[in-house]
């Protein structure tokens, strides 16, 4: 699995490293242009102006403080800063099952597929799982989740298209309780954070969960597409406000997109990345490791 992540990041990394190397080799001493070029690298990975600016300020401060004069050391400093930024506490493990995971996000980011991956992960750990199809809106969303359930040998609770998602979740949690399930994973319909009515609907689903489980046994995960630009920040902010997001699943990191938006999200919203999606198969999921993520972005080896 490690090899897989590395592989998928290799392409991403190559160009980045090339740019970085180029930037570094051009400057035998640390110059303003070096910082400009490092900023360019950050921006082309979707880190965004604000966080890039802050990171660079900090980089300059560290360089100054250390009296470091070698450009190649700047890279090490930058890595350190980014790792620090991403090293946020992840939600603690629960002491008693069931664990319910509510998966939310905008349309098409990879929620359903990530749920299949999560189910595969927990099943492999020996947990009993149940999937709840609370996307009652999109055509064939229930079928999609059911197909995964069948493929993974995981049970699913669903209702017909157009029915109330809160009711499905209620039924799902009741079923999990009755069957003494360890992990319940709830698939919700993709929705834009800008749609107030759909966010209100999600809030209702969230309340059904907390009323049944209490806060501690509920984990809300927001899926972000690694290709997302600065809008990812708005997404995270509004979902966080609505359903108290605990962490991020960063999906589709197997493409050339670098997912730098999670740095902005970590910097400005203090939301940790928990999982990384690296493909369309059930085992294409890894626990997020800040150092590994940054190393994979910036390191040649």
């Amino acid at each position: 699995m490690l090899a897989k992540l590395k592989n998928s990041l290799a392409r991403t990394r190559q160009r980045l490293v090339h740019q970085l190397e180029e930037a570094l080799s051009l400057h035998s001493r640390i110059s303003p242009e070096l910082y400009d070029e490092l900023e360019e690298i950050l921006i082309t990975t979707d880190v965004g102006l604000e966080t890039s600016g802050r990171v660079l300020e900090e980089l300059k401060a560290r360089v100054k403080e250390s009296r470091e004069e070698r450009p190649e050391m700047v890279r090490e400093f930058l890595k350190e800063i980014l790792v620090d930024l991403l090293s946020l506490p992840v939600p603690p493990a629960i002491d008693r099952p069931p664990l319910a995971i509510l998966v939310v996000g905008v349309n098409g980011v990879g929620k359903t597929t990530s749920i299949a991956k999560l189910a595969a992960y927990y099943k492999a750990k020996g947990c009993s799982c149940l999937l709840v199809a609370a996307d009652t809106f999109r055509a064939a969303a229930g079928e999609q989740l059911a197909a995964w359930g069948e493929r993974l040998g995981v049970e699913i609770v669903r209702s017909r298209e157009g029915s109330d998602p809160g009711a499905v979740v209620f039924d799902g949690l009741a079923a999990a309780n009755a069957r003494r399930i360890d992990v319940v994973i709830i698939d919700t319909a993709g929705r834009l954070h800008t749609k107030a009515n759909l966010m209100a609907e999600l809030e209702k689903v969230y309340r059904v969960c907390t009323r049944n489980l209490g806060d501690r046994n509920l984990l809300t995960l927001l899926v972000l597409d690694a290709g997302t630009g600065q809008n990812g920040l708005n997404q995270a902010r509004v979902f966080q406000e609505t359903v108290g997001v605990d962490g991020i699943i960063l999906a589709k990191l197997d493409g050339t997109a670098r997912g730098g938006i999670v740095l902005a999200v970590a910097d400005q919203l203090r939301l940790p990345v928990v999982w990384v999606g690296t493909g369309e198969q059930p085992d294409d999921l890894r626990l997020f490791d800040a150092r590994e993520f940054v190393t994979a972005l910036f390191d040649e080896t």
Partner: protein, 442 residues
């Protein structure tokens, strides 16, 4: 570098730059620095921003600043015009094949919205009286076929699928099925794929080969970031795209990816998706997206207002001239030029002297009429233009000779000018209070 108050800083820059004649390098660079940040914030690719800014810079330096605008505003105006032009000047239609059926291939990354867009496009074409058929060639994502089938049922459109066949075979068979079912469009939904997945990209090429599509539309999520250029370039290189569809545009994304993609592929944006419902597909308006990407709504509104104020001033000026009987042939010529630009010409032409009313029928006015009119007026001395009453017989002869028109034409123009003046005076009187609404000139 924290750019939290971009708008504030921009206003500041614009204010500082007020009141100069021509755009200097300093004016331009200062304003463009803010523009650059705005574009990056909007997710326009870094390199695209750079080349765009360089282009605009060259065009802007030395440009005359419109009297109503500050140099900074002028630069933003130029940027906005350039952006709009870059996004595509005119509305782009979905092509029709010379021989039916017209095959449209929808391609793109995972989760960009291909299946929904396929159904929306089906509905769109159906509303135009076409008979589209949909084909489900995404055999990979669980229930993708079912999704398209359900959408097809809702729209009462046939959906072609063949169990156990590969996507190339499904697409090929669908073309035959379209002909049999007497449909005229075939919309092929393909599986989402990464542009770096060579096997799957090769599959798309094979589908293209098999169905010879008239349109290959790249479906792109409007929220995409910097990577959009890589994606678009790969798809374009492999398939020679014919157009783009931008989805999820009802979100609060600034949509800069559209500019990046437009720049690297040169393909027009044909349609935009603005909601989850099947009717949420719209034609694309370049200027709207340009404004959105630039994100300087305040500044753009300011520019518009400043310019509108000037136009209003000019109109009021003219109005008073008419009232006081001071209208000159020069005013007419100027109005004509403006009207010609604004496209309101036909509407106002009946008030212009020297235009053959015959030509006005069916709103068809020949360019020649203007040329002649213009030539006659330009052959007059400034004094004659200001005070046509001094134009006697010998002057008429000279004007006719100078403009290459006949004396009769010169006479007609002068008569009609007098008549028009009276008419306009009447209109102006009528329009009092309601001005400028009822006034024939904008």
């Amino acid at each position: 570098m924290i750019f939290s108050n971009l708008a504030g800083r921009l206003q500041e820059t614009l204010r500082k730059l007020r009141g100069k004649g021509k755009l200097t390098e300093i004016d331009v660079d200062e304003a463009l620095r803010e523009v650059k940040l705005a574009l990056l914030e909007a997710d326009v690719n870094f390199r695209v921003v750079r080349s765009f800014i360089n282009r605009v810079r060259e065009r802007a330096i030395g440009k005359e600043v419109t009297s109503s605008l500050t140099p900074g505003q002028m630069v933003v105006k130029i940027v906005h015009q350039e952006l709009t032009a870059l996004m595509g000047a005119k509305e782009e239609k979905i092509r029709v094949a010379p021989q039916p059926p017209t095959v449209v291939l929808l391609v793109g990354l995972q989760g960009s919205g291909k299946t929904t867009t396929t159904a929306k496009l089906g509905r769109y074409l159906k509303m135009q009286g076409r008979r589209p058929m949909l084909a489900a060639a995404d055999i990979y994502r669980p229930a993708a076929v079912r999704q398209l089938q359900i959408l097809g049922e809702k729209l009462e459109l046939p959906v072609y699928f063949s169990e156990g066949k590969d996507p190339v075979a499904i697409a090929r068979e669908a073309v035959a099925a379209v002909k049999k079912q007497n449909c005229d469009y075939l919309l092929v939904d393909t599986a989402g794929r990464l542009h770096v997945n060579e096997e799957l990209m090769e599959e798309l090429r094979a589908i293209k080969e098999a169905v010879r599509p008239e349109e290959i539309l790249l479906v792109v999520d409007a929220m995409t970031g910097q990577d959009a250029v890589n994606v678009a370039r790969s798809f374009h290189e492999k398939l020679a795209l014919t157009g783009l569809v931008l989805t999820k545009l009802e979100s609060d994304t600034r949509g800069g990816a559209a500019l990046s993609i437009r720049e690297v592929t040169g393909c027009p944006i044909k349609l935009v998706g603005t909601g989850e419902k099947l009717e949420d597909l719209e034609v694309f308006y370049p200027d709207r997206l340009a404004s959105r990407i630039l994100g300087m709504g305040d500044v753009l509104t300011l520019i518009e207002k400043a310019e509108a104020a000037v136009e209003k001033d000019q109109a009021r000026d003219l109005f008073h001239k008419i009232q006081d009987d001071r209208l000159t042939l020069e005013d007419f010529l100027e109005q004509m030029r403006q009207l010609r630009k604004s496209g309101l010409l036909q509407q106002a032409l009946s008030f212009l002297p020297g235009v053959n009313p015959k030509h006005l029928r069916g709103m068809q006015v020949s360019e020649e009429d203007f040329k002649h009119l213009e030539a006659i007026i330009q052959s007059m001395t400034p004094e004659e233009r200001r005070n046509p009453s001094i134009i006697n017989a010998s002057r008429r002869k000279r004007i006719a000779r100078g403009s290459g028109r006949s004396i009769q034409e010169v006479n007609r123009l002068l008569n009609q000018f007098e008549q028009s003046k009276k008419l306009m005076k009447q209109l102006a009187r009528m329009g009092k209070g309601g001005f400028p609404m009822k006034f024939p000139f904008p």
